[in-house]
């Protein structure tokens, strides 16, 4: 029977990226995917006739341009179209717009407060400074602070140098930024509640924390550090939905000689004499390989797909304690036409942006309290987009697709499974919230796909449906991700590697973990490093 050089588990964007680099290096690589479609949470699926849904991830901005270029994703069919702007609808009938043009943006903020409108410039600069600081580490393997290896010491020194490059006061600001809550961070710049509410969303998306929880300011960066055409922080839609990202990566992988199998779920990672030997599929088939790379999250990899006896008990316990929390759900909706939002003027450019319906910090935080009590937010934070205004290829002419990212949504209701009624109620909560601001919305709904955190777990294989494969808190970042001592993509068994978002630098459709893992694998195989280096941040 054939022995592969490497098997990559999961055809999510990180798995495919990793597989593509290994194939590019000349290895014989097989990528196995449990579903009958590829992409994992980066998928477009036709769940309703003639409609393509971006089921899970729905916007694209973090995908590392170095990888985009290196794997020739444009040639392989990927096209990302930027969109801009956003709206927060307010209970009093007003709205807060966010416009791509800085002067219009200024005027809009100045409607609420001139000081806030002015402060936005400093806020952006201060936040960008932090983005720049960490972007430099995205395509690098985090150093192990407990190690004395020259490589780790060098990386640590580099980190220290980067830090000490800043002026004294900026170092203190950086320490504070990394440790404070998004609410406190915003309080230092802005006085207007709705402005703070609008900006705070990015501090909690995908995390099981509230806007007042320390550490959430950092999460902002996971939403600001992306780029479309060199424009920091810009967001875009992949033409054809997010599945187009996976398709391009898969095409790239295949063109490099890789082999991709869907409907091939892994039952277990096979270990013999302390080394991986291959994988056993759910259909009973065993495939041999010298290297196994898991694109699954850390919990699924080690707790579900490995034999406990192959793992050190302490390691097992620490993985068990790795925090992956379901905090968000999705409602995807097929629309018969474009809903109207009477608060916005006709033809407003804001209709092409994202929309939000929570206008105060208190409502933001209260949404979190519901989650802590083990239920979904009754007044949730919804990040709603209608990508078909930008990309009409996903639906029949004149129709629309609406994607609602909903927070907070637990993986379980008070510790037990969701019932189907609760699932419907959850969807209804979201639909009702939107309908408050769009009277014709409900009548336009043709089909709604309601995905709780539990559904995302079951379908996409993200534990608890956590979009980042693990909380982005300080105890799980950089050299702590997923757990201390295992942050360099190597598993606890020889030949076993991790390349999913449970590893540095974490989630978002970034592909950096997949690329970084490939670098370490090639290093261990003593093959030349063919992974791209970070574009210089000068």
């Amino acid at each position: 029977m054939k022995t592969y050089d490497a098997i990559v588990i999961g055809a999510g964007h990180n798995g495919l990226t990793n597989a593509a680099y290994l194939a590019k290096s000349g290895l014989d690589v097989l990528c196995v995917e449990k579903n009958d479609y590829i992409g994992g949470a980066t998928a477009s699926r036709a769940l309703y006739k003639d409609w393509l849904y971006s089921n899970c991830s729905y916007v694209c901005s973090l995908l590392r341009p170095e990888i985009y270029r290196d794997l020739e994703l444009a040639r392989h069919g990927l096209q990302v179209t930027p969109y801009g702007g956003g709206t927060v609808f307010m209970e009093n009938g007003d709205y807060l717009g966010s416009y791509p043009d800085p002067e219009v943006h200024y005027r809009e903020y100045a409607r609420f407060s001139k000081a806030d409108a002015d402060a936005y410039e400093k806020y952006s600069a201060d936040t960008m400074r932090q983005c720049r600081f960490i972007r430099d580490f995205l395509l690098r393997t985090p150093p192990d602070p407990a190690s004395f290896k020259p490589k780790d010491l060098r990386e640590l020194a580099r980190l220290g140098n980067k830090f000490f490059e800043m002026s004294e006061q900026r170092m203190y600001d950086t320490i504070r930024f990394w440790t404070m809550s998004v609410a406190e961070y915003l309080d230092e710049y802005f006085e207007t509640d709705v402005i703070k509410a609008a900006l705070s969303g990015s501090g909690i998306i995908g995390t099981a924390l509230g806007i007042h929880s320390p550490g959430t300011a950092y999460v902002l960066l996971h939403h600001y550090m992306g780029e479309v055409d060199g424009n920091m922080g810009a967001w875009g839609y992949a033409r054809g939905g997010m599945g187009a990202v996976a398709a391009a990566l898969a095409n790239s992988f295949r063109s490099l000689g890789g082999e991709l199998r869907t409907d091939a779920g892994v039952e277990q990672i096979v270990v013999k004499n302390g080394s991986v030997k291959g994988v056993a599929l759910t259909n009973g088939e065993e495939i041999d390989s010298r290297i196994v790379v898991s694109g699954m999250d850390a919990k699924r990899t080690f707790l579900k797909c490995m034999d406990k006896s192959d793992l050190d008990p302490d390691f097992y316990q620490r993985i068990k304690n790795f925090k992956i929390r379901g905090s968000s759900g999705k409602v995807n909706i097929a629309l018969d036409g474009m809903p109207t939002f009477p608060a916005l003027p006709k033809g407003s450019p804001l209709l092409d942006g994202d929309m939000h319906f929570i206008d105060s910090m208190e409502r933001m935080e209260r949404a979190y309290d519901d989650w802590k009590d083990g239920t979904w937010s009754k007044d949730p934070y919804v990040d709603m987009v209608i990508p078909t205004t930008t990309d009409p290829t996903m639906v029949p002419p004149g129709k629309h697709f609406m994607s609602c990212f909903v927070q907070y949504c637990p993986a379980q209701i008070e510790g037990r499974e969701w019932t189907s009624e609760e699932c419907d109620q959850f969807g209804q909560t979201v639909i009702d919230q939107i309908a408050e601001y769009s009277p014709d919305f409900k009548d336009l709904i043709l089909h709604a796909e309601i995905r709780t955190a539990q559904d995302i777990d079951e379908e996409s294989g993200l534990t608890e449906g956590n979009i980042f494969h693990g909380e982005l808190t300080m105890d799980q970042l950089m050299f702590n991700r997923p757990i201390p001592g295992y942050a360099q993509y190597r598993g606890p068994v020889a030949g076993l590697y991790m390349c999913g978002s449970s590893t540095h630098p974490g989630g978002g459709v970034m592909s950096a973990p997949g690329c970084n893992a490939a670098r370490e694998i090639l290093f261990d195989l003593k093959r030349p490093d063919i992974t791209p280096v970070n574009f210089s941040e000068d």
């Binding site: 600001d173 320490i175 702590n480």
Partner: protein, 515 residues
């Protein structure tokens, strides 16, 4: 003619007294000005009802740094030492903790608790070393000493060993909730430990940072609790005695109106009654906000600094409740001889978190959490014969109450608190002779602490070490020549520890020598 001193210390809180003593010991001519009639600041014993006295703010001693005791030769009598904790459970299955021992839980929890204590005290010991040092500056231009301290910190962390170091770097930013849930099945135990982590802060057990606040609490005497005989004034008086002995002058009833500034440096202080005292150095034991905003005035400092001070989060959540009692209230499952212990009402960690929820929205907790002592049980001097005093920290009562702190709001919170305790002490209500509730607004007014926050500024990673009170001013010297901070608002923070006062004194002497 102004009286001349080398140093004026504003406020005879415990840190001010520690600082004054050490400066006087080094030969400085020191004047301490205290606004209230008693020394001690928040470390005082007050009579709150006829014949009933109580430690009016801080009521237990667990953080006093051994260095402070030693260097000052501090001696005072204790009414209780190694005081244990009884975490009350509504079903009477209380959990008792003392040192590394816990009873009332499963054996697994007890074993896990020992392991938890071992690890936490190890980290707390490391922290403690740095609580007693001036935090280094972070700058390419920092002094050799600063780089040495930074290097030492790195080395000390590495010396924990690979596993412990990884664990420290992991949990230092974590919340106590997750850590406790990883370890313990007993909710009462989790509740009690999470309460220790959040007492005096604007944090709930789920808030990241609460491991740090828990370690901070342990970083004195590993959480060993004692109580001074005669209440906290005993400690304050002992400290005042040390200061006077070394030649410092302490004047009470002398609120300072402003710090006199001439040619961009401090020149002395002026009191409310118009007296002026000249000194080249002024050390403020007041919190950073009132020091800069009121005593100095922002116009005498630069804008960025003023803004940073303005942004310090220091809104207290801890109220203090004092009950004069006809006798000890009965508590189901608690023996008569156990009333000298510390009682905790925090039946589980979710309960504590829910109590915190209200504080986020400027509301008081419907079901507050408590740390309770009956000081008169150990110390009959505090109450008439046969009568007793209950002293309790009650959370959460946010300083910025949405409706504002009126007499009615205070009364309503007092009623809530007493009702809540009724569940554990059914005859409490009948035993109450007199009561007092000090909300953070009252604490602000009576003890002159902005926001009524006992740490003089939220204790959180973004207001800790390098950035306490604000980045660039962490070395006790303020950016106004001759002005220093020596209170809890400076590194390391609050609690009756004396660390801030001692560190400040050492820093002042070091800088004076260099000048």
């Amino acid at each position: 003619m102004n009286e001349r001193y080398d140093v004026c210390v504003i406020g005879a809180g415990h840190n001010g007294l520690v600082c004054a003593s050490l400066l006087a010991k080094a030969g400085k001519k020191v004047l301490v000005l205290e606004a209230n009639d008693q020394v001690g600041g928040a470390a005082v014993t007050r009579t709150f009802a006829d014949g009933f006295s109580v430690s009016a703010c801080a009521h237990l001693l667990y953080q006093l740094q051994p260095q402070v005791r030693k260097e000052l030769g501090l001696k005072f009598e204790l009414s209780g030492d190694a005081i244990g904790t009884i975490a009350l459970s509504p079903d009477g299955k209380h959990v008792r903790m003392n040192g590394k021992q816990v009873t009332g839980t499963s054996d697994e929890d007890a074993a896990s608790y020992r392991d938890f204590c071992r690890r936490m005290t190890r980290f707390a010991d490391l922290l403690k070393t740095y609580l007693n040092k001036t935090p280094p500056r972070l700058s390419k231009d920092a002094s050799k000493a600063d780089f040495l301290t930074l290097g030492q910190l790195g080395l000390d962390i590495r010396r924990l060993g690979r596993v412990e170091m990884q664990e420290l770097l992991r949990i230092i930013g974590m919340n106590i909730f997750d850590e406790l849930n990883e370890r313990f099945e007993n909710g009462v135990l989790r509740g009690a430990l999470s309460l220790d982590a959040v007492l005096g802060t604007h944090l709930g057990p789920r808030s990241p940072n609460t491991i740090l606040t828990y370690l901070y609490r342990l970083a004195g005497s590993h959480g060993t609790i004692s109580a001074p005989a005669g209440g906290m004034s005993t400690v304050a008086e002992a400290l005042a005695h040390c200061a006077r002995d070394r030649g410092a002058t302490i004047r009470t009833g002398m609120p300072v109106k402003r710090i006199i500034i001439e040619n961009g440096r401090v020149a002395g202080v002026q009191t409310e009654n118009g007296e002026q005292f000249s000194s080249r150095l002024v050390v403020s034991n007041a919190d950073p906000k009132s020091t800069i905003m009121c005593l100095v005035s922002t116009r005498n400092v630069e804008t960025g600094f003023a803004r940073r001070i303005h942004n310090i989060r220091m809104r207290g959540n801890a109220a203090k409740m004092h009950l004069a009692l006809d006798g000890l209230p009965a508590i189901d499952g608690v023996e008569e001889q156990e009333y000298g212990e510390r009682f905790v009402v925090a039946p589980d960690d979710v309960y504590v978190e829910r109590a915190f929820n209200a504080a986020k929205y400027g509301e008081t907790s419907d079901k507050p959490v408590f740390e309770i002592t009956f000081p008169s049980f150990r110390d009959q001097s505090l109450a008439p014969d046969g009568k007793h005093v209950m002293s309790a920290i009650v959370q959460y009562a946010p300083y910025s109450l949405k409706e504002g702190w009126s007499d009615a709001a205070r009364q309503s919170f007092l009623d809530t608190a007493i009702d809540c305790l009724g569940e554990f002490m059914p005859d409490l209500k009948q035993k109450i002779v007199a009561s007092e509730m000090l909300t953070p607004a009252d604490i602000e007014k009576q003890f002159l602490i902005t926001g009524g926050h006992w740490h003089h500024g939220e204790l959180a990673l973004d207001q800790f070490l390098f950035t306490r009170p604000v980045g660039g001013a962490q070395q006790y010297a303020m950016p106004l020549d001759g002005l220093y901070l020596c209170g809890a608002g400076a590194h390391p923070g609050g609690g009756i520890s004396g660390a801030a006062g001692r560190n400040a004194a050492r820093e002042i002497l070091k800088r004076e020598k260099a000048a």
